[in-house]
């Protein structure tokens, strides 16, 4: 009996994560990229004009968007070799599972990168906050869900175009705008000690974005494939 939607998605996600875990090439590249970007941003601003704590949320979420793009491109890129994608498509699983599995693996990937990038920002930008970072971890999960939904879908589209990886940021970044804005504003509100109330509206926007785009991208993915 062929596996159902979610268990098939789990198989795909485990496959992708196993490949990534054994090679670790993309993970380390993206982690190093993120740390470098965080460091470079610090020197791109005048620290006497803007306090580094005010800079931190913006730097964190811009790095998140760009680092995510680097990792997301590999998602369907690895399936290009030796007709792996055709094998995946001819397997007896719903096509939505391929998308959900890939997106789940990307979510783990992006969150693992953030688990190193966030302490990097705390360290380099000397921001306090203490327990607030637990709430920010929640913001990260919300932001990452929306980002991998859109990013995974566009990754599957661009591998079939002439421009391939050049096209991904072009298509995906406008879609990341609400995510980066909401996450950065929520982080700023939380870090400046205004409490959870001002951040709540931004979090609602993030949650709504996740709902809409996870549903839309899962539904539309099979339509992006050759019938």
């Amino acid at each position: 009996m062929p596996p159902d939607l979610l268990s098939a998605a789990l198989i795909i996600a485990r496959k992708d994560l196993a490949i990534e875990f054994r090679t670790r090439s993309a993970f380390f590249s993206v982690v190093v990229f993120s740390l470098l970007a965080i460091a470079i941003f610090y020197f791109a601003f005048d620290p006497t004009a803007v306090s580094s704590a005010d800079l931190a949320p913006g730097v964190l979420w811009v790095t998140f968007a760009f680092g995510g793009l680097l990792g997301l491109h590999r998602s369907f890129g690895v399936e290009q070799a030796e007709g792996a994608m055709d094998a995946l498509l001819s397997s007896p699983i719903p096509r939505e599972s391929i998308f959900l599995g890939k997106a789940a693996a990307n979510l783990v990937f992006v969150l693992a990168v953030q688990a190193i990038a966030i302490p990097g920002v705390v360290l380099f930008y000397n921001v306090g906050g203490g327990m607030v970072w637990l709430t920010i971890a929640g913001v990260t999960i919300l932001a990452a869900i929306g980002m991998v939904a859109v990013g995974t879908l566009f990754s599957s589209v661009v591998v079939n175009t002439r421009l391939a990886e050049l096209l991904l940021p072009l298509l995906a970044l406008p879609f990341f705008v609400p995510i980066v804005t909401s996450a950065a504003q929520a982080t700023l509100q939380l870090l400046s000690g205004h409490g959870a109330t001002p951040a709540a509206n931004w979090l609602k926007l993030l949650a709504a974005y996740d709902l809409v785009f996870v549903a839309a991208c899962t539904w539309i993915y099979p339509h992006s494939l050759d019938a």
Binding site: L153, R162, L167, L170, L171, P174, P178, I220
Partner: protein
Amino acid sequence: MTSPAKPAPLTAPRIRTPALDPLLTLGVVAFIAALVRAAFFTPPDAAQGMAQKILYIHAPSAFTALYLACGLVFICSGLWLWLKDERLDRMADASAEVGLAFMTVVLITGPLWGRPIWGAFWTWDAKLTSSLFLWFVLLGYQILRGAVEEPQARARFSAVLGILAGCLVPFIHLSVYLFRTLHPMPVVLKPSAPSMPNEMLVSFVFSMSAITLLFAGLLRARYRLATDRAELEHLEARR
């Protein structure tokens, strides 16, 4: 020894477009008339002076690009997924490109007004930001279409982008309410009665209709171009 059989000669497609496209000509003439009326036969604004006159181009262009062009891209993309009719793909292509042109007009006229009134060409206000990113999405749509050779795949991918872009617009609009906005609130298209003197309102409605007509003319011309291109692709594939 026999020479290989020559393929059947290719016939040039019949030229259907007349030298002067009547709808497009009407649109251009109406647009010029609307400009003349707005510039010379409408009183300037009491507070903003002559700068306010840019409203007659800016707001109708924004309406056309945002609601007509982007709406058409969204609807045609959705219908394409369902019906798989290549005419829908051409319509989406045409409205995205004409929409990009009108969005460019919005982004050029806005700063021209902003400089004397706000004292800056650009501010990172919610409406400006969302227009800019919508412009980027439309630009990305064109680049995506250019990067796919196979017509079926091109139609599929652009329909996917068209639908997702439609889902993105409400989120960009929501940021209007979350960010504090500098942009003037709507004076004509709002739930209560338009807060504008009658003379200005007539000019506004006139330029609104003229720009909508211009949009229709350009859309039809661009749609025909897409049809001709598809025909050319068929012919080249046969060669």
